[in-house]
């Protein structure tokens, strides 16, 4: 199976997972954009 012109799955998987990882970070950030705000004096 060739993906984006690359035959070795050991390499095209890295290419695809890099894109997926960035998408995961963006999705997580946007889904939690307004969560986690917290005010302590000490």
């Amino acid at each position: 199976m060739t993906v984006l012109g690359i035959e070795d799955p050991g390499v095209w998987l890295a290419y695809v997972l890099s894109l997926a990882g960035a998408a995961l970070c963006v999705g997580y950030g946007l889904a939690n954009w307004n969560k986690g705000e917290e005010p302590k004096k000490e």
Binding site: D8, V11, A14, Y15, G21, G29, G36
Partner: protein, 641 residues
């Protein structure tokens, strides 16, 4: 260097200087100087984290490594994003931020010390940082100097010195506020530069699929020396396995060297090591809430993809450009220059004198020497190795000659002063100078300046605070705040001098290796006690000290006595035992019970599991930490307060 380039660089340096001054003006407390007042904007924090994380080492050093090793280096991008951003921001970031705030910690060693109630740990961590971070700073400086020197027509040494002085000035004055403000500007420039670099490269090669396919079709051009260590083409992973015991280099003992170098040193060493980088952990303590970390994760993922993903892809694809498209408009000076690689063929290439012995002439390699068409007659000569594919078209009537070297990237980097294997640290700069329009060369110059300066600023800041805050204050007491800032500044200067000396004497294929060594050392020494300290209440001082000791000493032993490249380079094993490393005998023959593959296994593969195991076992067999202290560390009131 034309007027536009000079003006742009001066404007860039002036804006950087202004932001450093702004940081200086906003620095009112020790917390401002050390953790940017703990209220950094999330986008500035994300850009600062990313720009600190990504240096010229990643772009020039690892990009060049990808030109040699191929697109398999993208596994490091996978780890950079999934571990360096996602795991770091979503799992480690908030506990680090919360504990750092609650315990009033300003530096990584101080966080560890307060978690375990141990000044000894603070001093040990700080000394490891102060002694070994110059190695990483050196790698970043070399990455910048390799590109900047030729552009400004100044020597490599001068480029190193200028670089160091500019960064030191705004770090010493502006503290972490100055560092983070300049980081944000530099991160934005890096983002623009790298996105254009990828688009231009894919555009030139016909699009992603066509470019990758063209690179895949070049597998038959892999040099024999690389095939012997497992290279199977630039779009394939190297051959995987572990050589049988006793085999020498010519019997297949090196057949899997490339896979282990790629996976254990480059991917794991840096990919996991990032979690325990002191200058990055501090970033989590600069934001005021988890919300900031959530927002920073989104920006960080995109930023890292556009940095390492682009650098590694373009590095690998540069082979297609150099082998198929490069045409140099130049004036050929001599098309039969002989350069000698030395008796063993592994030395640095040197010109062959006209009266040299026949034996020297027979082993010498033929090169073409030339100057680019737009260079004056006094410009230094450039060289390209001659092969049976080299094409030269002589220009008529004073027109420039056309030279088509048709070489893969690594061979294109061969010239006087490099070994026959080339110097991969010069590939990305050469690619940009040769393949990209001149205006992009200026933008890329700013990109590399930004990448180097943003990382160096944090390295200098971390080295300085390690000695000032974490060592000096521990011996002199907390009441010496003013003096500790002064000691911090002196320590920054000392660290820079050490990095400069290293950079002056260690050159060539060093950037990726030096970076990986430092990242691996940090992971093995710090990671178990840092992560377990955040999540496991049973983790105690004895376990942290044991883990630090085992991780550091195992790494040091492996680097000095087993890892082929570092053991031979450092020379202690040779001086003490008369052989390059423990796997070979005095004649360089592999010992019968050992595999030569061990000499390319990175220390992190051995030291990190041992360090983690030590931490868990010691924590379970020794007395748990005092309940009052544990309650305090995890958010409760201070004991006896």
């Amino acid at each position: 260097m034309d007027l536009l380039s000079i003006v742009l660089v001066i404007v860039y340096l002036m804006v950087t200087g202004y932001l450093g001054y702004l940081g200086y003006r906003q620095t009112k407390t020790a917390a401002d100087y050390l953790v940017a007042g703990r209220s950094a904007n999330p986008i500035i924090m994300a850009l600062s984290y990313g720009a600190t994380f990504i240096s010229t080492s990643a772009i020039v050093g690892f990009g060049g490594a990808a030109a040699g090793l191929g697109m398999g280096v993208l596994w490091l991008t996978v780890l950079n994003i999934s571990v360096g951003i996602f795991v770091a921001f979503t799992f480690l970031g908030n506990p680090t931020r919360r504990m750092g705030h609650h315990l009033d910690a300003h530096t990584f060693p101080e966080l560890i010390a307060k978690r375990y109630d141990s000044r000894l740990l603070q001093v040990l961590c700080a000394l490891i940082i102060f002694c070994f971070m110059p190695l990483y700073a050196m790698a970043v400086m070399v990455g910048g100097a390799e590109f900047i020197g030729p552009i400004f027509h100044i020597s490599y040494d001068a480029a190193l010195y200028i670089f160091a002085v500019i960064v030191a000035a705004y770090v010493i004055a502006g503290g972490l506020k100055g560092v983070m403000l300049t980081d944000a500007l530099q991160g934005a420039i890096m983002l623009v530069g790298m996105v254009i670099l990828l688009a231009a490269t894919y555009g030139r090669l016909g699009g992603p699929t066509e470019a990758h396919a063209a690179l895949g079709a070049m597998a038959d051009q892999v040099p024999g020396a690389l095939k012997a260590i497992g290279h199977r083409g630039w779009t394939a992973m190297p051959a995987f396995g572990f050589a049988a015991a006793g085999l020498g280099p010519k019997d297949g003992g090196v057949a899997y060297h490339m896979w282990w170098t790629l996976v254990s040193t480059i991917v794991l060493g840096v990919g996991i090591g990032v979690l325990a980088q002191p200058q990055l952990v501090v970033r989590f303590m600069t934001v005021k809430s988890k919300q900031s970390l959530n927002r920073a994760a989104a920006a960080g993922g995109i930023f890292i993809l556009c940095m390492t993903g682009v650098a590694f892809t373009v590095g690998a694809l540069s082979n297609v450009y150099f082998a198929q498209q490069e045409t140099l408009a130049c004036r050929i000076v001599d098309d039969a220059v002989l350069l000698d690689p030395g008796p063993d063929g592994k030395g640095k290439l040197a010109p062959v004198a006209a009266d040299a012995a026949d034996e020297v002439k027979a082993r010498a390699k033929r090169f073409v020497s030339f100057r680019m068409a737009d260079e004056g007659p006094d410009a230094p000569l450039s060289y390209a190795m001659w092969t049976d594919k080299t094409e030269i078209v002589r220009g008529a009537d004073g027109q420039a000659d056309a030279l088509r070297p048709h070489l893969i990237a690594a061979l294109r980097s061969v010239g006087p002063g490099t070994p026959l294997a080339g110097n991969t640290d010069t590939i990305i700069p050469r690619y940009v100078r040769s393949a990209m329009p001149r205006w992009f060369g200026v933008l890329f110059l700013l990109t590399l300046l930004s990448a180097a300066m943003s990382t160096m600023s944090s390295q200098f800041h971390t080295m300085g605070t390690a000695l000032g805050r974490d060592v000096f204050e521990q011996f002199r007491g907390q009441g010496h705040g003013t003096k500790s800032i002064l000691v911090t500044r002196v320590a920054i200067i000392v660290g820079i001098v050490v990095a400069l000396v290293l950079g002056k004497y260690v050159r060539g294929n060093i950037i990726a290796l030096a970076t990986a060594i430092f990242f691996g050392l940090c992971a093995s020494s710090f990671l178990p006690m840092f992560v377990l300290g955040l999540f496991w209440k049973r983790m105690n001082k004895a376990a942290a000290l044991a883990s630090l000791g085992v991780g550091f000493l195992t790494s040091a032993f492996w680097l000095l006595f087993v890892h082929g490249k570092t053991a031979a380079g450092l020379g202690l094993c040779k001086a003490w035992l008369g052989r390059d490393n423990l796997i070979v005998d005095a004649q360089g023959l592999t010992l019968p019970n050992w595999s030569l593959t061990w000499t390319v296994v990175d220390p992190i593969v051995v030291a990190l599991p041992l360090s983690l195991l030590t931490a868990v076992v010691v924590a379970l067999v020794t007395r748990p930490p005092a309940p009052a202290h544990v309650a305090y560390v995890f958010g409760g009131p201070k004991p006896n307060a």
